[in-house]
């Protein structure tokens, strides 16, 4: 398969050579990651006592990170899936990033569950003694299906690019990389028949991963929803979590677009138009997400159920600033920035996305922790760490490690594959000429 030389050079900035900047960044994050590993070793050695979790708040940062990373994986599933399905023209430069977010966060997410469970050595019990009644079993099945589905979907989008890189004579890469492209491109030659099969497969997979992604995130929500705990026992949790997930995925996509554009000088490919379009998508999702949040808290606040009142009181006292940031600022501010054309600059949209993403993480935090701090029977204890949760350095370090490995995996992928799909961009050129 052939492609424009400039396109290949521009979109594969890290494949041929490795810049010093790349090394510095990579090893910095590797350092953070190593700190997390040290924290994990401490936790395995001394037990979960090194975390901030105790008998009342049995789930802390780890579960928050788990649902957060799983939510990010939505970016690819819904954004790339939906955009592909509706054949949206402008999607082409951003779709690859969205798919990479999906697969990478989907790999990282479950690790936070591994950190959270007390007996990591018995993890395989989930497979040899499964009980289908448990939402965790649903989750295991759903996440594994999602991983396979998303991996196939991502790979399908890579085949053409691998074929292009394989056939590109001017590529100065080591022999093993050439060989890798040859294997990974599966002998794809770009004949009409092959292209048709590939296009069909991608359409089918895009529909499938949308469905799977909705199931995965609903199941995740039901882990909370099926319990009797005040604040969790809510029928809205399934769809609420789904929309929150898309919200975070979209936010992250904007941030990554900004980073890649800056670092690899892709101004020509990722333009303001893309920021505005994804930004508008973020606003629309924010509106739904805000509506769901409001609806959930309104019904809890308006009624007189005692446990709900206690929880709401806690949210508006101990968690006041976090609550305001997560559920007001984090939703309204991005909407305002993007809704008014005069605020719509690339840096502004990126800032809006950062706020949205942070606010969503906090939103997850105030869903998980305050509920566990208000059990039906009051906490009567003298030990402060038993009454209120506060994360320890171990949890912080593992959280940081999660972010670091996310960045590192992205950097490693950029060493092998184009960060913007060459084949899609080429197609776009053709489309433009036809017009």
């Amino acid at each position: 398969m052939q492609a424009d030389n400039k396109l290949i050079k521009d979109l594969t900035p890290e494949i041929e050579k490795t810049s010093l900047k790349w090394y510095i960044t990579f090893f910095t994050f590797l350092g953070f990651f190593a700190l997390g590993i040290y924290g994990l070793i401490q936790q395995i050695d001394k037990g979960h006592i090194v975390t901030g979790m105790r008998d009342n708040v049995v789930w802390g940062f780890y579960i928050v990170n788990f649902i957060f990373f799983m939510g990010l994986s939505y970016s690819g599933a819904l954004i790339s899936g939906v955009l592909h399905l509706f054949n949206t023209g402008w999607r082409k430069p951003v779709i690859r990033m969205a798919e990479l977010i999906t697969i990478i966060s989907l790999i990282i997410g479950p690790f936070f569950i591994f950190f959270c469970i007390g007996r990591l050595d018995r993890l395989y019990f989930l497979f040899i003694h499964p009980r289908i009644q448990s939402p965790i079993t649903w989750d295991v099945i759903a996440i594994m299906t999602d991983l396979v589905g998303c991996f196939i979907y991502l790979y399908l989008s890579f085949i053409e690019d691998f074929a292009i890189l394989r056939d590109y004579k001017g590529l100065k890469v080591p022999a093993w990389k050439k060989k890798l492209y040859k294997i990974l491109s599966l002998g794809f030659n770009g004949t009409e028949k092959e292209l048709k099969i590939l296009a069909n497969a991608r359409t089918i997979m895009s529909v499938m991963i949308i469905a799977i992604a909705i199931i995965v995130y609903s199941v995740l929500a039901w882990i909370f929803g099926v319990t009797l705990q005040p604040g969790w026992h809510s029928t809205i949790f399934g769809p609420y979590f789904v929309i929150a997930a898309v919200f975070s995925g979209t936010g992250l996509l904007i941030i990554l677009m900004w980073i890649f554009r800056k670092v690899y000088h892709l101004e020509e490919y990722i333009t303001k138009r893309h920021f505005v379009n994804v930004g508008v998508l973020l606003t629309v999702i924010a509106a739904f997400y805000g509506y769901f949040t409001f609806s959930d808290y309104l019904t809890k606040w308006y009624g007189s159920i005692k446990m709900d009142s206690i929880l709401i009181d806690k949210l508006f006292s101990d968690y006041y600033s976090l609550f305001i940031f997560a559920n007001y600022i984090g939703i309204i501010l991005p909407c305002i920035i993007i809704a008014f054309p005069r605020f719509r600059t690339i840096p502004n949209i990126t800032v809006a996305a950062v706020i949205a993403l942070l606010a969503l993480w906090v939103n997850r935090y105030i869903i998980v922790i305050p509920t566990l701090e208000t059990p039906f029977l009051p906490i009567q204890d003298t030990r402060p760490d038993w009454i209120n949760y506060s994360p320890t350095w171990v949890e912080w370090s593992l959280t940081l490690a999660g972010v670091s490995i996310f960045v590192m995996l992205f950097m490693l992928v950029s060493k092998i594959a184009p960060i913007i799909s060459i084949s899609e961009m080429q197609e776009q050129d053709k489309d433009e000429i036809l017009k």
Partner: protein, 320 residues
């Protein structure tokens, strides 16, 4: 060799006998005998003797080297611990009018189950429903619900409900996901956040019915003293309570006892208007409460004579 064979045949006949008599009479004895038979005569003995309780309740002395917990025995015990006791439906009734936070139930429980000091399977709360209503002491064991949330959500079947009503945890199966702890609306479960450092009595064989030893990274909770129940002995908290607060018995026999007085379950429920905590949650607990009417002690007496750390717990106890 001859001796060994003899021992083995003796063991199998003994085992058959046990099977005929009924459910694994005396878990320890099986373990002891099986261990003895295999090892006897092949190794020199240490000479150190250990006292064990035989199934018929007499103390026997066994050589330390003769006791070897075999894996299949644990499996056998686990199977029995899942079946429960036939034709039983255990029930507990707690008389709030008599409780004065003496904490003897908590102590007996911790002692009996070799729990670390900060693990309370039985917990005492000072509750008040509203500002205008009375405060009262509220002992809370595991409620052994008939629709247990903890059992529903357990992904590996580590916690389970038996036909006799008891909810147990197999801490050799538990993966420590803590989902049961968020599932339980009564905060009845505790987690082993660090190595509990249990001093297991020599020769003790693990059994979900006693949960000894506790395992780091797994969940524990009140087990209605299932080990005692198999021996037809009342749970430890029942016999330890100096006020006779806790009644225990069988719903099918309609009889409950606090070890000094035995009453009809249905009658005391009617006479004293017994109730279950948060009936509206629909978990159908096996633990009933008798309301704190015409109390034997003023509620404040519960704070007398307790040490500061205990008093501190109830400093902020108020309407809820």
């Amino acid at each position: 060799m001859k001796e060994l064979e003899e021992n083995e045949s003796e063991m199998s006949s003994r085992r058959n006998f046990l099977k005929k008599v009924g459910i694994g009479v005396g878990a320890v004895s099986i373990a002891g005998v099986a261990g003895t038979s295999v090892i006897a005569g092949t190794k020199s003995k240490s000479g150190e003797k250990i006292k064990l309780l035989s199934p018929d309740g007499t103390l026997v002395e066994v050589d330390k080297d003769d006791i070897k917990p075999a894996k299949e025995i644990v499996e056998e015990l686990k199977t029995e611990a899942r079946k429960g006791l036939p034709n039983r439906k255990f029930v507990m009734v707690i008389d709030l009018a008599r409780c004065k936070n003496a904490r003897k139930c908590v102590e007996a429980c911790q002692e009996g189950h070799l729990l670390p000091k900060d693990h309370e399977w039985m917990k005492l709360f000072l509750l008040q429903d509203d500002l205008s209503t009375a405060r009262y002491w509220f002992p809370r064991p595991c409620f052994h619900c008939d629709k247990p949330m903890c059992v529903s959500v357990c992904p590996v079947g580590a916690t389970y409900k038996r036909p006799d009503g008891v909810v147990l945890i197999d801490n050799q199966r538990c993966i420590g996901c803590k989902f049961c702890m968020t599932g339980c609306p009564y905060s009845a479960r505790v987690f082993n956040w660090k190595d509990p450092e249990v001093k297991v009595p020599a020769g003790h064989v693990y059994n979900p019915e006693d949960n000894i030893p506790a395992v780091e990274g797994t969940v524990g909770k009140c087990i209605f003293c299932a080990d005692n129940l198999r021996k037809n002995i009342l749970p430890r908290c029942v016999t330890a309570c100096p006020m006779g607060v806790i009644y225990f018995g069988d719903l099918l026999e309609d009889t409950i006892t606090n070890s000094t007085e035995t009453v009809r379950f249905s009658k005391i429920m009617l006479d004293r208007a017994g109730y279950r905590y948060r009936e509206e949650l629909g978990t159908l607990p096996s633990v009933y409460y008798l309301p704190p009417t015409q109390r034997m002690f003023p509620v404040e007496s519960g704070l007398e004579g307790t040490d500061e750390s205990i008093k501190g717990r109830y400093k902020n106890a108020g309407p809820r």
